[in-house]
Symmetry: C2
């Protein structure tokens, strides 16, 4: 799945509720001594998926998109959303209450800079929902109109939200070392060493993915990612502390965790941090996820804040041999479900009675039948015909489209298994594809193969490889508007930093990282193509005459690529050989795991194209 956030879209606005809530909020803001309020769609961890009680933006405005920023002023309210959500925001919000602004054209900071009236306006914010950097950016923008940002102790939306859903209490499970490959104790030693390298006294882990990785725990507080919402503080010397609601811990889990970490209630975090900071401690805070409130606590108590990229993010990205073995097992299992799905689809689709939802349900059931699926890794994207060209498409009852012969069908999906997280996109011909479809598919495939076959030295970043995946599309005068690849976690988030394969991917690619390889092509109103496999960064095989070690991608996703969409005449012998060898590996690994009908289908779908 490409790196774009999205969410269900069938909700309808309730203008009366929004008007009432907005009025209450404005009333309360006066009591807080401020004129306005800024509210991002965010929780205390800057999570991609947030629990229901953090959907303050939706509560106030009706807008349910995964990214947005609201500014409430006495006489107006401005909702900033990016291009993906322009339409949705218009449908879900009341135009008499909210002015909509495309944040790509005018960011909130830019909007503030353009104000000229009412110097002295005081804008409140909840310091738990913004990073320090974003607050600094806003504060700088507010210098122009001489407005002021004021941190509030209580979130004024929560005060008016009577039936606000309670924080989730998903039970925490231990992530066994036979999946994790390294004990929490050993991980903590490596983290302590990183803290020492930065000459600091402690690290606050504010990203729950990093908490989960560090302590080898998983949870179920948000959708699709097995996260326990929690903070941790790891000192250079001494026992770390885990800040988590005790009701998420069974006695057994609590006992096991207590061996190496103090279990503390979330409330205790700021008190403990203050105490630590009072010793003039130097505290590392993650620049991407640490709330502005955390830095304030440390600074006010006399500590020194150093903003860094949480070192756990880099450690977590390098999968160890156990995690890699787990990824291979998960991919074989997931590949078997995909093979069953693709075989089923090829049987059923030509009969003309399938639709997008039926396809998603079938695929999810094939995955579930493995008995090991914990969750899907993100909401499946299932797009027939023109719906395949909507990059962030999410099928709903309203948009559900029949799968018709002569069209392309794009399905982007993944599973969460204890031994690994998967993410795969296949584009399938229903009936006979047009020459245009085959030509575009082949251009996308050649880019996919160029990236899959790339060798590169240490230090090379994803930004430097991205062009390999786009070159044949550029030669044809077209492109795709999303990144080529993102990092993937190990039974964690399907979107994981620090590396990515896109213009913005400046982190070097290192052995042990798992990333997606997913170029695409989208023809609006007609069809969408994306070919996505996960790849593992490995040492390149021996090269005669080589002078320096090279890295390579090993493709670990195992599912056939639709040969009916390939124009072999456009491909080089090396490219066809790569595909044949990939298909041979798919047949060999997945074949033994599936029923006979699927095995027969798979043998046909993976037949070599070279000399055939």
């Amino acid at each position: 799945m490409f790196s774009a956030k999205f969410q269900t879209f069938d909700e309808t606005a309730d203008p009366a509720a929004s008007a009432r809530r907005l009025a209450s909020l404005r009333h309360n803001l006066k009591w807080d001594g401020v004129d306005g309020f800024v509210l991002p769609r965010a929780d205390r961890h800057q999570n991609e998926y947030v629990p229901a009680g953090e959907e303050r933006l939706a509560f106030l405005t009706g807008f349910t998109g995964s990214a947005g920023f609201l500014l409430v002023l006495p006489d107006k309210a401005v909702l900033f959303t990016d291009g993906r959500y322009t339409l949705q925001a218009r449908e879900q919000t009341d135009p008499t209450l909210f002015t909509l602004v495309n944040s790509v054209e005018i960011s909130p900071a830019k909007w503030f800079e353009q104000q000229t009236d009412h110097p002295g306006t005081r804008i409140g914010y909840d310091p738990w929902l913004h990073t320090a950097e974003s607050i600094e950016r806003l504060a700088k923008a507010l210098e122009k109109p001489r407005w002021e940002l004021v941190p509030l102790t209580e979130n004024p939306v929560d005060e008016i939200w009577a039936d606000r859903p309670a924080a989730p209490l998903g039970p925490v499970v231990l992530h066994d070392v036979r999946f994790a490959g390294e004990t929490a104790d050993d991980k903590l030693k490596r983290i302590a060493a990183e803290i020492g390298k930065q000459r600091a006294d402690a690290l606050v882990i504010s990203d729950p993915h990093n908490v989960a990785w560090t302590f080898n725990i998983r949870g179920s507080d948000v959708a699709h990612t097995p996260l326990p919402l929690a903070f941790a503080v790891v000192p250079k010397n001494g026992r770390p502390a885990l800040y988590i609601d005790g009701r998420k811990l069974s006695n057994d889990v609590r006992d096991r965790l207590s061996d190496l970490v103090d279990i503390r209630e979330p409330d205790a975090l700021t008190k403990d941090l203050s105490k630590l900071a009072a010793t003039q401690a130097t505290v590392l805070l993650d620049q991407a996820t640490a709330a502005d409130a955390l830095g304030k606590v440390v600074a006010e108590a006399g500590g020194k804040v150093v903003r860094v990229a949480d070192p756990v993010t880099a450690l977590k990205a390098i999968k160890n041999p156990t995690e890699i073995a787990g990824a291979h097992a998960a991919q074989a299992r997931d590949g078997a479900a995909m093979a069953r799905f693709l075989a089923w689809f090829d049987r059923e689709a030509p009969r003309g009675h399938l639709d997008e939802i039926a396809a998603v349900e079938a695929l999810e059931s094939f995955r579930r039948e493995s008995g090991l699926l914990k969750d899907i890794s993100f909401p499946s994207i299932s797009g027939a015909g023109p719906n395949g060209a909507i990059v962030h498409y999410r099928v709903t009852q309203r948009t559900n489209r029949p799968i018709r012969p002569g069209e392309l069908f794009l399905i982007d999906s993944g599973g969460q298994y204890e031994d690994g997280t998967t993410d795969i996109t296949r584009t399938i011909a229903v009936g006979t594809p047009t020459d245009e479809m085959r030509s575009r598919f082949t251009q996308v495939l050649r880019g996919h193969i160029a990236l899959a076959r790339a060798l590169f030295p240490d230090g090379i970043s994803g930004a430097q490889l991205d062009t390999l995946a786009r070159q044949y599309l550029w030669q044809a005068g077209v492109d795709f508007d999303h990144g080529t690849g993102h990092g993937v976690g190990s039974y964690l988030s399907v979107h994981e930093g620090p590396a990515r394969i896109s213009k913005l991917g400046t982190a070097p690619l290192k052995r042990g990282m798992i990333l997606s390889n997913e170029p695409g092509y989208y023809k609006e109103g007609a069809f969408g193509i994306r070919i996505e496999n996960l790849v593992l960064v490995v040492e390149a095989p021996h090269i005669t005459g080589a002078e320096k070690p090279m890295n390579a991608f090993e493709t670990i996703t195992l599912a056939p690529i639709d040969a009916r969409l390939i124009d072999v005449s456009q491909m080089t012998t090396d490219e066809i050989a790569w595909l044949d060898s990939y298909h041979a590996r798919v047949a060999e690994t997945v074949g033994p795991l599936v029923d006979k009908d699927t095995a027969n289908w798979l043998a046909a779908a993976t037949r070599p194209l070279l000399n055939s």
Copy 2:
């Protein structure tokens, strides 16, 4: 020529002189009230080539490299040089006087941070020789040991340099609009618009290349680049001022310039800037070249300094139709000289009596015989056998090597013509090359062709294309340690910003830019390969089915690539077709410009490889 600076290397150290000078300097520093002094190898414009009177580093230390940084303390002196110059610095300096440090491993800032003794140490610097950014970096590093940076009004080296060469007085000539393609008046209007966009009142042009471009003038104050050393101040409204030694201007040139600019002595710059700043003006300073002293003058007089990338750099990089026509004419002329040279070399080299210097002299004389060569565009690199593998090699009487059959010969050179600046590298087989040489040459050539054939949308930077040139080398487990390409001026510097094709090239490539395409391969102690052409960014030819405009590179350098070094079996049909079509264009354009013998040689050297 790849982007690395270098310089003659035959000078030998005079330890007695260095000891005497260092002692005098230390004595004077006391009078200036400081304990130490930092001295970069730089002039007031951060020029690549500097006049003799700016070679303070060489005067003090004996080290003549083009990049270095000296720190003088009461009890020691530390000379920082990068990896290219480690050997040279060791040979040229007295180890009892100077401690040598590799600046790639320990930068001056890092070195300062590691000091623990003598808090309160005062380090003097000449604010005209450092940019504000570099001073800020140093000042930050000095916080650790609690040392202090102190700007000095007079450079203490100049005070002890009795026979310091006077500033050069190269006559200024007008760069005719039939070469420049745009009047200075029109350029000034565009610059004023840029100043307005940035809401500023004036721009200080501190980069002499930008002064030369703006006023359509050229000079001869430094080697190889027709620069007049000068500053300019361009106001948003009103007449600009040019700060230049009046002795460089003939009456005629002065009269012509006076039509649009006030001519002022260099001394007047700070006074004028102070006066401007006193009106609370907002002044744009170039972050890359403006001396720290300039910012201080503006700030102290009450003006507001805004550090930017001088907008002239971006304007200058886009060549207009006249400059492009000039580049084509210059390339045809230069290609004719190259063809004569290559034909001559092929006749003479097998007889075994040539050496590197003879080759350079021959090539320069062929260029000179065009009657239009103003200068070479940089010191030629002429490397036979293992010398070709030294990336910054510069032949001297001491290193001069015979050109022997069985070896490769690499020659990187260029010319300054009024209508354009050229830069070309060819690698030539002398006698029969080995299979290894042919294989590596073919890998380099395939990368060169991949970049030359690339199509790419607007907004793409050189960093994103660099990999295209390296991919086949990486596949073979090798790489090259320099950028793939740099911008090139129009009868200006052979190294011009803002765009480049390298990991660091984040500026988008725009139509009208001229860059080099010069991948290479270097086998230490054995041979070097580089294939360099200049390319012009143009609109891609029409593509059926294209959805967005694409850009392409048009290769404008015209000289054969040595087919004896190509292993055609490694190349794709498309790659061979590109080479054949390039060679056809070389033959067609250059053939009519050369003597009959050369024309015959050229016809053979450009014979198509496909179906031959």
